[in-house]
């Protein structure tokens, strides 16, 4: 059958497709990805927060970067100090263009002294090659060759300890170790996109199904639950994690300057190692921004429930909040003047709060600032008050333990 006019399927498709009974599919990096396995998102969401959610994250772009100059390439490409990245360690980072504006973000795993895996949301091969000019390095794209699963939730460790050849207790936050699962080699990193205890499993695409089956069988007693990307979307907002082309526009996708964002503006100042030696892409612009301060910043907004009750109560309704993350821009104002916007907003089931990732102009991004967010009440635009907070909104004590 010729399916060249269809989106790609992940290596887990034979399992996920029979479970995705509501046929709720979404697009993700040229693949179809399960939106949700249930009609509602609650069960999958609570699996992330109370048990363990199994999420197919194979569409993530994956690159293998090897050779004597591999570390040098990544050090040049990203604002992080790759010299400090130990073998078996993972860095999260964004990377910029020469103007210090974000192109993409992802993780860098040091698999060996001269071997790294880079994940990204967007195709990056051309950018990698451009920056590798004159370097002794081999860059290969592994997206389809490699399957990836994210196991997220407080029971994820217990499940992996049950099904893996080696216990995972020793894997610290943002570290990685090789393991064997269902007789297949996997690498397991303690990473994720939910802000909970969680791991990501990387394996050869040919081994995907036996690994999935072993996890489901071994995890049942711990409440393992296949989970789509919509429930993960709620969790990642709670965790204060942003998404490319939703919460920021890649500099290469922007039509106008104003659409671009810097790492500082996105709250990634901690990833910019201005103390590292030598050139890296965007260094000069980032140095300037560090000196002069950012015009914008992405922070959290917690909307007052009383305020919601007031604006909805005015028409005789209880607050109507969609029970999922909404990727839509909403104006945010202060004293009647617009001072920014929300890029993603969601109901937080664990916090029982309506929260949003908001982008605010200086000085309104300071925690504690009172602002108002637009809310539609019976077809009328209204504003509900809220407070600016530091991210993340939610971080359980067991996330880093």
């Amino acid at each position: 059958m010729n399916d060249l006019h269809q989106l790609k399927r992940t290596p887990f498709h034979p399992r996920t497709s029979v479970l995705c009974l509501p046929q709720n599919w979404r697009r993700w990096a040229g693949h179809i990805a399960v939106g949700s396995y249930d009609l509602g998102l609650e069960r999958e969401y609570w699996a992330i927060r109370n048990h363990a959610a199994l999420i197919d994250v194979s569409p993530l772009m994956k690159y293998l970067i090897e050779g004597p100059d591999a570390a040098r390439l990544l050090d040049r490409l990203t604002p992080r100090n790759i010299a400090k990245l130990a073998v078996g360690q993972v860095y999260y980072t964004g990377w910029c263009d020469e103007e210090g504006k974000l192109l993409d973000d992802g993780t860098i795993t040091r698999l060996g002294e001269q071997s790294f895996r880079l994940t990204s949301a967007e195709p990056s091969l051309r950018w990698l090659h451009m920056n590798a000019f004159g370097m002794d390095v081999a860059i290969s794209e592994h997206t389809e060759r490699m399957a990836a699963l994210s196991l997220q939730g407080p029971k994820s460790r217990a499940i992996l300890n049950r099904v893996c050849a080696t216990p995972v207790d020793g894997i610290k936050f943002f570290r990685m170790a090789p393991n064997t699962l269902a007789g297949k080699p996997v690498t397991i990193s303690r990473t994720g996109y939910t802000g909970d205890l969680g791991y990501e499993l990387w394996m050869d695409a040919a081994d995907a199904l036996p690994v999935w089956d072993a996890l489901i069988a071994g995890g049942n007693d711990f409440g393992i639950t296949p989970c789509g990307i919509l429930a993960m979307d709620m969790a990642r907002v709670e965790a204060g994690l942003f998404m490319l082309d939703v919460d920021y526009t890649a500099a290469t996708h922007a039509w106008i300057e104003g659409q671009k964002s810097s790492p500082y503006e996105m709250g990634l100042g901690w990833t910019v190692a201005l103390d590292k030696p030598g050139y890296f892409v965007g260094r000069r612009a980032l140095e300037r921004e560090a000196r002069e301060g950012s015009a914008w910043k992405m922070v959290g907004l917690e909307v007052d429930w009383e305020g919601l009750e007031r604006v909805f109560g005015a028409v005789g309704l209880p607050p109507q909040i969609p029970a999922m993350a909404v990727r839509g821009s909403l104006p945010v104002r202060k004293d009647g003047q617009q001072v920014g916007y929300a890029s993603t907003s969601t109901w937080s089931p664990v916090l029982k709060k309506y929260i949003a990732l908001v982008h605010l102009q200086r000085p309104h991004y300071e925690p504690g600032t009172r602002v108002e967010i637009e809310i539609t009440v019976e077809h009328h635009r209204r504003y509900a008050p809220g407070t600016v907070v530091a991210l993340p909104f939610y971080e359980p004590e067991w996330k880093r333990k």
Binding site: R43, D221, W305, V350
Partner: protein, 527 residues
Amino acid sequence: MAAANYDAIIIGAGHNGLIAGAYLARAGKKVLVLERRDIVGGAAVTEEIFPGYRFTEFSYVVSLLRPEIIRDLELPKHGLKILPLPSTVTPLDNGDYLAGWDDHDLTRRELYRHSPRDAEAADEYSRVMARAAKAIKPVLGLVPPDPSSLSWRDLRGLLKLGQYGASLGEKEIYRIAKLVTQSSADLLDEWFEFDPLKGTKSASGIIGTFLGPRSPGTAYVLLHHYMGEIDGAFRAWGFAKNGTGGVTAAIASSARALGVEIRTGAAVANVIVRGGRACGVALENGDEYSAQVVMSAADPKRTFLQFVGRQHLPDELVTAVQNFRVRGSSGKVNIALSELPQFTCLPGEGPLHRGAISISPSIDYIERAYDEAKYGQFSKQPYIDMVIPSMIDRDMAPPGHHVMSCFVQYAPYDIEGGWDDAKRDAFGEAVISTIERYAPNIRRAIVGKQVITPKDIERIAGITGGNIFHGELLLHQLFFLRPAPQWADFRTPPPGYYFGASGAHPGGGVMGAAGKLAAHEILKDWR
């Protein structure tokens, strides 16, 4: 003799007592909460009865916990998580089942299998009920005004209530008038024809009352179940992480963070009244604590008849409280299981195991169960509402094992000849053999079981009569009549002595409104 001085002492660390304490501390008061048992929680406790198996011993779901309490006391920060309980499945005698899901298309599809007429009526029924619930809900947050009083406060309250009543449409008022007087059987007969559907829906009208589905007044209790639905995304209804003990643990943690002192193993003997005013409490061990105000979060009988001398109360009030109906009508069977119960109607592990499982094949079945209770027997074939907490929260049982919570009605407090071990065993056996008819592997799977009669509820949780609501939700025991006429505003005759628990307005369930409202009245009087 302990001598520490407090602003307020709360008797009882159930959810209402803890909530009242937390609100008082939030207002800057120095608060002591005294609990008779060695653990906090009252009837909302989770206990490890068998090693590794944690039971939500009494109360097992969170229904109407007030959103503003969750917010004000920052309960999510203190560990409160309310997990979804997405379905109700009723196994039928013909080997089929009736399911209700939290998705209206799924429910309608299921109902079509049994009765297209009911399937099409169900949507309208739930809209009508939800609207009536929405109309009544604001009343729950009011301090009931006394209609016989001419005080400014009561008049203002009545005015508010009158204004609110006038804001409702005429049809809505008729609907509500009918709902509060009807039996749930009559209400359901107006809408539906399929017996198991009527049986299952009627069950929520009898929970915690000593009435059958054909008794007038039970339709109102049905309405209570729609209150949670109006919360929408807020979801105040479900199964709490770590059981209902998880709710009270979160409230206790919040209260402590606000500065509340909680003492367990401190049974109160009486409230000390001097010069006509409450000024402290005396414990059974002889310790005394003084405070400016005392609030009882115990049941009305203990609050009015045990903690204070009769000389401090008007005779009318004493008589009213003596006649307050607290007939316990339900029991619990908590079971530790080595495997999931396999229901013949839906074999294998499935979504039904994550929701409620209801033994309620018809209204007749439940009414017959009530007949036995009326004459002092427990039901041989009772109504049972089962939940498998370990399927909703895996921390409730060891991996691969399970706990099952069975709410059972009817088990009268005043059983003929009184409760004893043999009767308790026979009651437990009646429950197991009823379940066995639908899930034959149940007996083999039992690792341990705890049978709780209303007498046990009284003994363990300290609720007189063992009624789960501290007093039945009967029309003549609600709003300005709860717990007694003229004393529904959380005050009692001796100044400085207050009452805020399930036996006060607006009634029971893990709702917390009584504790919160009482705290507000206490603070009002403080000025």
